[in-house]
Symmetry: C2
Subunit: 169 residues, 2 copies
């Protein structure tokens, strides 16, 4: 059924890594989305509620960093949560550019009720790895994420510092 293999994909661990990273993310995200949809929320809305639940009052920009969407999308999602009475905005006293976000009592009650079953779904979704494997994956993915983020800002970031000449032409 598979006709040919014109390029050298299988041998390239970097490209393989990107493929399996995307696939793993997609599969786990499907669990997450389905779990969150049970409660009539979108994944990003849930993310806002969760970060405020765990971190308390935060500026919009700080929430944005944690839910991994652009700032315009953050405004859109926060608007919806404010309309539903789950989140409230409050100007910061010290910096007049900043708007602080905070759960309303209703929002806190909601997220407090739905977070535990959602966490159970995530645990189940990643349950193919043992606790030890999960810890190892966390270490690797943390290094990968931090490194990739650093290279976004500083394109020639520490390439080949610790593992030289892997793929010379």
């Amino acid at each position: 059924m598979k006709s040919q293999q014109p390029a050298q994909v299988s041998r390239d661990s970097a490209l393989s890594l990107w493929v399996v990273l995307a696939r793993a993310f997609d599969s786990v995200e499907r669990h997450s989305r389905a779990s969150i949809a049970r409660f009539g929320l979108g994944a990003t809305e849930f993310g806002v509620l969760e970060v405020l639940y765990h971190k308390g009052e935060l500026p919009v920009c700080e929430v944005r960093r944690r839910i991994l969407v652009e700032s315009s999308s953050t405004t859109y999602v926060v608007d919806k949560l404010v309309d539903r009475g789950l989140v409230q905005r409050r100007p910061s006293g010290t910096d007049r550019r900043v708007i602080l976000l905070e759960l309303t009592p209703r929002g806190r009650k909601l997220i407090g009720r739905i977070f535990p079953p959602h966490a159970a779904v995530i645990r189940h979704a990643v349950g193919a790895l043992s606790a030890r494997q999960q810890a190892q994956a966390v270490r690797l993915l943390r290094a990968l994420g931090i490194g990739a983020a650093a290279r976004l800002k500083n394109p020639q970031a520490n390439e080949d510092r610790r593992h030289p000449n892997r793929d010379l032409p």
Copy 2:
């Protein structure tokens, strides 16, 4: 200023794994999107071209599985590529439900030109891990992705088969 810490996030390797997985995916994806945008393509459009480049002619459903979007989005993206003369549709001879997708000469030329520099970007993006670490991450993420996908279809899939009682109440 931070009011409380109601839940036990830091200790839960499963939830940590989900967080770092999402972050790592996001960071690498930003490299990928920026690289692809250089060539005037969207990430999903690039995905279609790339899978056809590496696998040859494929049914729509097969392309869909590999680019990780819903079937309606697949139609949308393929339409755009057909309009741009990069991909062509062809009815399958053996199954009249199936439409086969194939690169046009122009599409093949384009992806052949842009894939190598894009691959270099991906290698750079994941360069924080050594080749050995990349291979290890591939193993773990493959198992994670396969397990999570299996649990989507079969919700009570092999939980705690090899690593018992991890999170009893």
